[in-house]
């Protein structure tokens, strides 16, 4: 098996992707004699590009979304989170993966508010869930020790939590659990949207704006799920994201222009005249749907 793997690796190295059609098929007679080979390479190259698109995907992390909650002076409320003790009640790959994302968002929220004890408790739940799923290679005990040592610094807590979830994302992609990775990301985003929408209910303009801006992340997430076709384990979340997108279609986006400037130290500032907004009814509909979905996935 190892020899075969090495032989394949050697072929990749010698041919390369960009050179595959040239170096490995330099004989033009051979090309004419075997048109299916070229067609085969074309379709495989297309498949490879599709695989790349599944790896290169990004939406703002729950930390980025929920940082505004802290900035605006709201108080931490553990009752808003999915109870950490529920962790053992989730069965099935979909629920476990989504809740791994939910716990990731919850522990980011706790870390944001310097809640060291809660952060550690939620990390332990996330680790427990990852173990149940057989994907605990990234959420290690070493991270719990790091969290414990860095309790006095909010940035360190956030840094450790974010790096752990990025590494989990990498671990899942590396171990061919890319669909699980998509569900974890969707679960985290959904929980952050749910938490933000609770705080936005008081009419805070900035919180409302942050909810409106989630249209970008949602569209990106929907496009991402579409790349997987009709995968059974993604079907339910895909339908739910589509339903949420239907509500978000009411958000008003006015396309503008991008501007850039440089300050004296050479740092670039990027701005845009593009605006996105939602009215009261849309905000309420988004909050209702986010709550419904969040409750559906966190129930057992």
């Amino acid at each position: 098996m190892m020899q075969l793997k090495n032989a394949l690796r050697f072929t990749v190295i010698v041919c390369g992707m960009g050179l595959a059609m040239q170096s490995c098929q330099s004989n033009s007679d051979q090309q004419h004699a075997q048109p299916p080979v070229k067609e085969g390479i074309d379709s495989l190259q297309a498949a490879r590009i599709k695989e790349l698109e599944k790896i290169f995907f990004s939406i703002p992390s729950p930390v980025e979304m929920s940082s505004l909650i802290k900035e605006k002076g709201y108080q931490f409320d553990v009752k808003k989170l999915n109870p950490a003790e529920n962790v053992s009640k989730y069965a099935g790959e979909v629920k476990q993966a989504v809740n791994l994302g939910v716990y990731g968002a919850d522990l980011s929220y706790a870390a944001m508010f310097d809640q060291k004890q809660v952060t550690m408790e939620y990390f332990a739940s996330a680790q427990n869930l990852a173990k149940q799923m057989g994907v605990d290679g990234a959420l290690t005990n070493e991270i719990i020790e790091r969290l414990d040592k860095n309790q006095e610094s909010r940035d360190s807590l956030l840094k450790i939590v974010s790096e752990a979830y990025a590494d989990l994302n990498g671990y899942l992609k590396e171990n061919q659990r890319i669909e699980v990775s998509a569900l974890v990301v969707a679960g985290g985003w959904l929980e952050a949207l749910y938490l933000s929408s609770i705080y936005a209910a008081d009419g805070n303009v900035d919180m409302r704006q942050r909810i409106a801006e989630q249209k970008y992340a949602l569209n990106n997430l929907v496009d991402y799920f579409e790349k997987f076709g009709e995968k059974e384990n993604l079907k339910e979340m895909k339908a739910d994201l589509f339903a949420l997108r239907d509500i978000y279609n009411a958000a008003q986006e006015n396309k503008g222009k991008t501007s850039t400037s440089k300050d004296a130290s050479g740092v670039v500032t990027i701005g845009t005249t593009t605006t996105i907004s939602i009215d009261d009814a849309t905000l309420k509909a988004i909050a209702t749907k986010a709550t419904e979905l969040r409750n559906k996935y966190t129930s057992f």
């Binding site: 394949l8 050179l19 390479i41 490879r48 290169f56 670039v268 990027i270």
Partner: protein
């Protein structure tokens, strides 16, 4: 022909099957470049070969300071990248070897695209695969 059918798919998809080293490279060589920023928790690293191109759409929030890092294994040489807005207007051009770290501030929320290209190695007899990683980190504006 049968052998071709079996081996070719494996060859073309091999970079994604064998990227254990890429995760370690990302953690050890790329992540330290985000020092001072909170990492976005998405993982965008893959084994690429010369001639490969990839695109990444990212959302950046207004009122935050960001660092974007394009980090590539030296075996690939210098990986070119360009940051554009969604209309295709160029904002920054760089390469992983010389200026792979881009710091910027956002005044309003916007989506930007990072386009990567691994240059062909025309003079080389063999072609190598290597890890390429795109990382984004944020912090509050001071």
């Amino acid at each position: 022909m049968k052998l071709y059918k079996i081996i070719l798919p494996l060859v073309l998809l091999a970079p994604f099957v064998a990227d254990a080293q890429c995760r370690a490279f990302t953690k050890n060589q790329c992540l330290p470049q985000l020092d001072g920023y909170i990492q976005n928790d998405n993982y965008n690293s893959a084994m690429l070969v010369p001639g490969d191109e990839a695109e990444l759409l990212l959302t950046f929030y207004g009122g935050k300071e960001y660092r974007l890092v394009v980090c590539a294994h030296p075996i690939l040489g210098s990986v070119d990248f360009e940051i554009t807005d969604t209309g295709g207007e160029s904002i920054y051009k760089g390469n992983s070897a010389e200026n792979g770290v881009f710091d910027f501030k956002m005044t309003s929320t916007q989506q930007l695209i990072v386009k990567l290209r691994v240059p062909e190695q025309k003079s080389s007899v063999s072609t190598h695969e290597g890890c390429v990683s795109v990382m984004a980190g944020s912090k509050e504006l001071n």
